[in-house]
Amino acid sequence: MNSIRKVFGTAVGKKCGMALTGVFLFLFVVGHMVGNLQVFLGQYAINHYAQLLQSNTGVLWSLRICLAAVALTHIYFAITLTLENRAKREVGYEVKELVGASLASRTMFISGSVIFGFIVYHLLHFTTGTTNPEFMTFKDERGWHDVYRMVQTGFSNGWVVAAYVVGVGALGLHLSNGLRAFCQSLGWRFETYASRIDRAAVIVAVVLFVGFAIVPLALFLGGAK
């Protein structure tokens, strides 16, 4: 081992890469959720928040580029690790009991792929407006982009709501193992903390799922005015 690249080339190093990029994405997701929840504070709050973000073009774009880069790195590690790992068992088992492995841990690649698909859809839906070009034209009385109306309209469609719930559901599943794996990979999941970390990861994942899913569900069911 004679360079940092070689360190990150080892299986443990790659997992550290997964963990570090993963936790960055996690922090973004938490911020995103907090932002979303402002929809319950009314039209002004959410539109003002959106305006704040959009007016700081420099910050917004550096954040977007960063996010994209980190997400792509995360995906790169995920794909290479998965491909490598699949090649490590040439003859499979006749029967395979995945003892001790939770659903979330076994399906990280699948849940990750669902999340990726969902993000693409979500960007086309609310960020670029490709699926619904009219969303971008919504303006409130201050002339700001009327995000409130956009989401209200967007989530009036049952299929859209279902897609979002599935998307954030995959996110919750992914994080319930991902957060624990993050602590594990960076070497913080010591004996004493292990079971607490596992429980905390599930709790945080559930909170995030609820925090995200409540917006489309509430708007669909007419909970937010």
């Binding site: 360079s3 360190v7 299986a11 190093g13 090649a87 490590k88 068992r89 088992y93 001790g100 939770s102």
Partner: protein, 254 residues
């Protein structure tokens, strides 16, 4: 009790293998799984055929030689035991028992249920030791060692090197095996001087031997006959990162 054993037979690494079914009508619930196979093997031998080859030595769960996947579970249905400590009372009368070797690219098959686990030896050679030459040891009680650390090191050291962790892992990762040895030695004051090269070397050797990476599914700890928890993998990762961040170990760039 009567059971059907569906077992993987393969003459050698080059010849393709297949499952062969045998009926064992005279099994007793008090027999161990291997004693049942012994009875079957005697019958097969009497018919002039080659008995089913499987690794087994101590038959008391400590040597780590046995390596069967029974009905999809490494070391069979019982928790915290090896294949040799699996008893027929864990199966039902009339059950079909599927027996396969440990499957992993890093464990090439030799014959029937026998696989080559020398990759584990190579990993130990990469740092799984304390380089103290005979004769240079200080008096044993010179360095007191907190009981907690000693017990924790013993938990890790109880690894028998059977490879069930690899067999059960969907990625064939040897992380639990490597972590147990790294943790055992790194937790002890005697192991401290070689802490960094040990973890870097063993992790690299694990990759070179062709094992997969850990995706924290926990299958390994579930099948580990000694109940070694995956928190030791976390310890190994910690030590690895700490060592890797130093970039220089023993005066050499890593």
């Amino acid at each position: 009790m009567k059971v059907t054993v569906r077992v993987w037979r393969q003459k050698n690494a080059k010849t393709p293998g297949r499952f062969v079914e045998y009926e064992v009508a005279d099994a007793s619930p008090d027999m161990s799984f291997f004693e049942m196979l012994d009875v079957l093997n005697e019958r097969i031998t009497k018919q002039g055929e080659e008995p089913i080859a499987f690794d087994s030595d101590c038959r008391e769960g400590i040597c780590g030689a046995c390596s069967c996947v029974i009905n999809g579970e490494a070391h069979g249905p019982e928790k915290k035991v090896t294949t040799c400590q699996t008893y027929m009372r864990s199966f039902q009368d009339g059950q079909v028992i599927i027996v396969e070797p440990f499957r992993a690219k890093a464990f090439p098959l030799i014959k029937d249920l026998v696989v080559d686990r020398s990759a584990f030896d190579r990993i130990i050679q990469a740092g799984g030791f304390i380089s103290v030459n005979t004769g240079s040891a200080p008096e044993a009680n010179t360095v007191p060692l907190p009981k907690y650390h000693s017990d924790l090191a013993m938990d890790a050291a109880s690894c028998i090197g059977c490879g069930a962790c690899v067999a059960a892992c969907k990625n064939t990762s040897a992380s639990l095996f490597v972590a147990a040895k790294v943790s055992h030695l790194n937790l002890l004051p005697q192991g401290k001087p070689e802490k960094d090269p040990r973890v870097l070397g063993m992790v690299q050797a694990m990759d070179e031997a062709g094992f997969g990476s850990c995706t924290v599914t926990g299958s390994c700890e579930a099948v580990c006959p000694k109940g070694i928890p995956i928190s030791f993998i976390s310890r190994m990762n910690y030590d690895f990162i700490a060592a890797a961040l130093k970039l220089r170990v023993h005066g050499r760039r890593v």
